[in-house]
């Protein structure tokens, strides 16, 4: 694998924007879907742009992720494919979520290309909104040092922060470049052709960058294992699980911001859950002496886990959306990891690999069934 070294002009975002500008000018793409600062300045959203002048307000690698890129792409292509050639500039986890959503028929990937960037993680959205300018400065340090205490907890346990196991086309390497340059790495034939069109020859050696990525991956894997064994202790048994989710007010925000949760009407907001005869509530109350309202909080979390954990790409946006700081993302990544390992499934890696519960083999999982006696 080879790449191209591009010198860094003032900062990372501006350097990437120059490349995006050229891609639009040379008509390699009809439009670009890229994060952008909102007019009031203290947050970010996605913009679909076909005019390079609008790249001004854009930030390809924003310090926060208030909107999951996959959710933005779903909003655009849920009803069908686009006829425009679109380049989506996203973080690796957002691309992985997009691939999962395409398996759930929520995104049409035809004519869509991806540009990914080495991701150090993101800051917590609410903290950022409180003090945007300070946080911007803080994040610049995060990119240079490649570590940070103020990041989303799941970011510290993320091993898919670079080019491996993601279906991106053009990848931008940032790690280990000491703020001097970036690496443009084509991950597909399509990418090679596009970069060729803008006169970028990918012939530089990138092995030192790859080594650095492996080093950091190893470190992150250790952090991940530590986090997960901590969570194993914290969540074992109904009582502990209750404690972990004790602050939850059952607002369902986590489900709403999750890119994988795509049902128009979540089961937990359907008639089955909210149109219940009063007698049923009283029977439950009488059995235990009393019940909490809203009801079924743990059921909601465990239910959501059974529905989406096979595709959980641990982006951590659920925890960002929680008004009560429940460690939702951490618990879901932990469980997601365990069930994905059980099926040897890596979400977002392969477009053609179906989600394990949507497929089967005739002879498998014998250890779970009981067929004798």
């Amino acid at each position: 694998m080879k790449g191209s070294t591009i010198p860094l002009k003032d900062n990372l975002n501006n350097t990437i924007k120059k490349i995006l500008k050229t891609l639009l000018e040379k008509e390699c793409f009809d439009a670009i879907l890229v994060p952008s600062r909102v007019p009031s300045g203290e947050s970010f959203t996605y913009l679909l742009i076909n005019n390079k002048d609008f790249l001004e307000s854009c930030t390809p690698l924003p310090p926060i992720m208030p909107v999951q890129g996959a959710r933005a792409l779903q909003n655009f292509t849920r009803r069908g494919k686009t006829n425009l050639k679109v380049l989506c500039v996203m973080r690796p986890c957002e691309i992985r979520a997009s691939i999962e959503l395409s398996k759930l028929r929520q995104i049409e990937l035809e004519n869509i290309s991806f540009m990914s960037i080495d991701c150090p993680g993101v800051l917590v959205t609410r903290d950022y909104i409180d003090k945007p300018k300070e946080s911007d400065t803080l994040y610049e340090e995060v990119i240079i040092q490649w570590k940070g205490e103020h990041l989303r907890p799941t970011c510290n346990a993320c091993v898919h922060f670079s080019y491996k196991d993601i279906l991106s086309d053009i990848h931008i390497g940032v790690v280990g470049q000491k703020n001097h340059n970036i690496l443009l790495v084509p991950l597909s034939e399509k990418a090679k052709a596009v970069l060729g069109k803008i006169d970028i020859q990918c012939s530089d050696d990138i092995s030192s960058w790859q080594t650095k990525i492996n080093e950091i991956s190893q470190k992150k894997m250790n952090q991940r294992n530590t986090l997960f064994s901590e969570l194993q202790g914290k969540s074992a048994g109904a009582e502990n699980l209750d404690k972990l989710f004790s602050e939850c007010i059952n607002c369902h925000n986590c489900m709403r911001v999750c890119p994988i949760c795509c049902c128009r009407q979540c089961f937990f907001e359907s008639s089955d859950e909210v149109r219940i005869e009063s007698e049923d509530y009283f029977i439950k109350a009488q059995n235990k002496g009393g019940i909490k309202f809203p009801t079924d909080m743990l059921l909601f979390h465990l239910g959501r886990m059974s529905h989406m954990s096979l595709s959980c790409i641990n982006c951590g946006i659920c925890e960002d959306g929680c008004p009560m700081d429940v460690p939702v993302a951490q618990v879901f990544s932990f469980i997601g990891d365990a069930v994905q390992k059980m099926f040897d499934y890596v979400p977002g890696k392969d477009r053609n690999e179906p989600i394990p519960i949507l497929t089967f083999k005739e002879d498998e999982l014998r250890e779970y069934e009981d067929s004798k006696g």
Partner: protein, 365 residues
């Protein structure tokens, strides 16, 4: 009204009342805020009197709007045996609006409420609230502004529960000297008939309440004036709702936003890629997810008349948009234009569901 005074704290007074009602089988269960395990607070439906020791009905937190919860309970059918419900004035008003919208049934419900000093935002750490209690009740007595409360509460003039059966006088009173209980309705007096306390005659002490009302009104005028919604225009709307992430949490916790499948989540609102492509051609750039301002304006047209200003929406917003303040302000103006007070009178229908043959001549042509 019939009344009595206890030498106990408000929470203890309510506990005694509810114990009396449960033990004498006047109610089969009670609904109130409780301190549940792990140091948390949640609304609970209780049938076992042993669990009454955990209730904290006047604790200044609102983890969910009780009106919405009672609507869940009585959505399909009314409760079959009496239930005593302890809730705040805005929650009771929300419930009355929900009854008008056919989302709840009031039969067999006994309402116990109190003159309300407001609540802290749900994000506030529980131990901070517990430590701030003394300060909270001092402020509730004088009406002096407490900045840490929900903004909606600091500007609320509707803090006297119009439609409760039993009212505790808390705001405007020194609760260290005991608690005053008024039985506003015959029904309320009937339920508490036989409680050991001697009943006397009393009415709501309006002087202190008027003072508090004045303070809150002034605060409201200032906060509303600072918000300057009249100068928003499209630029202002884009600015204030700019960081909205279309999560719809505000609509889900709102008591009067009751549609099971919101228009904005239905297939009707999905735009195909061709629409995006057309809009992109028109504007050269397009925010995605789209229709953020439309969502808020649309929701405003749908709940403008029924918003009770409880403030749940601002509490759950992941990007701290002051939704409650904006919605409370605009809906108050809309309600005033039709002389409508949500939750006050069950017979007074929501303005969009009735009409006069001759009216509003200034808007038609």
């Amino acid at each position: 009204m019939k009344s009595f005074k206890t030498h106990k704290s408000p929470d203890d007074t309510i506990r005694d009342m509810l114990l009396f009602l449960l033990e004498n089988k006047k109610v089969s269960s009670i609904f109130a805020l409780s301190k549940v395990h792990n140091n948390n607070y949640a609304y609970t439906l209780i049938t076992d009197k042993e669990l009454l020791k955990n209730i904290t009905p006047t604790f200044p937190l609102m983890p969910a709007n009780a009106g919405k919860m009672i609507s869940r309970l009585t959505m399909i059918e009314a409760v079959k045996s009496p239930v005593a419900v302890v809730l705040r004035p805005c929650e009771l008003r929300a419930l009355f609006e929900l009854v008008k919208l056919e989302q709840a049934k009031l039969d067999n419900l006994l309402f116990i409420s109190f003159t309300c000093g407001g609540v802290f935002p749900i994000k506030t750490k529980k131990d901070s609230v517990e430590n701030a209690l003394k300060n909270y009740w001092t402020n509730a007595k004088t009406g002096e502004d407490l900045q840490e409360l929900r903004e909606c509460c600091r500007i609320c003039e509707n803090f006297v529960p119009d439609n409760a059966d039993i009212i505790l006088q808390l705001a405007g009173k020194d609760i260290d000297n005991g608690t005053s209980v008024l039985m506003k309705t015959e029904k309320g007096a009937g339920f508490l008939n036989g409680m050991s306390e001697q009943f006397s005659e009393e009415s709501l002490e309006s002087t202190a309440l008027d003072t508090i009302g004045e303070i809150r009104k002034e605060k409201k005028q200032k906060i509303f004036a600072d918000l300057k919604t009249e100068d928003f225009g499209i630029e202002g709307l884009v600015n204030i709702f700019g960081r909205c992430i279309n999560c719809h949490a505000c609509s889900k916790v709102c008591p009067v936003c009751y549609c099971k499948l919101c228009y904005f989540e239905s297939a009707d609102n999905d735009a195909g890629p061709s629409i995006f492509e057309i809009e992109l051609k028109k504007r050269s750039a397009l925010r995605i997810p789209a229709d953020t301002v439309l969502y808020h304006l649309g929701r405003m047209t749908h709940i403008g008349f029924t918003c009770v200003g409880c403030g749940m929406c601002s509490d759950v917003c992941p990007t701290n948009i002051p939704i409650a303040t904006i919605f409370t302000k605009v809906s108050e103006r809309v309600q005033k234009a039709f002389e409508y007070i949500p939750g006050k009178d069950l017979e007074e229908k929501v303005p969009v569901s009735v009409f006069e043959m001759k009216e509003l001549e200034d808007v038609e042509d």
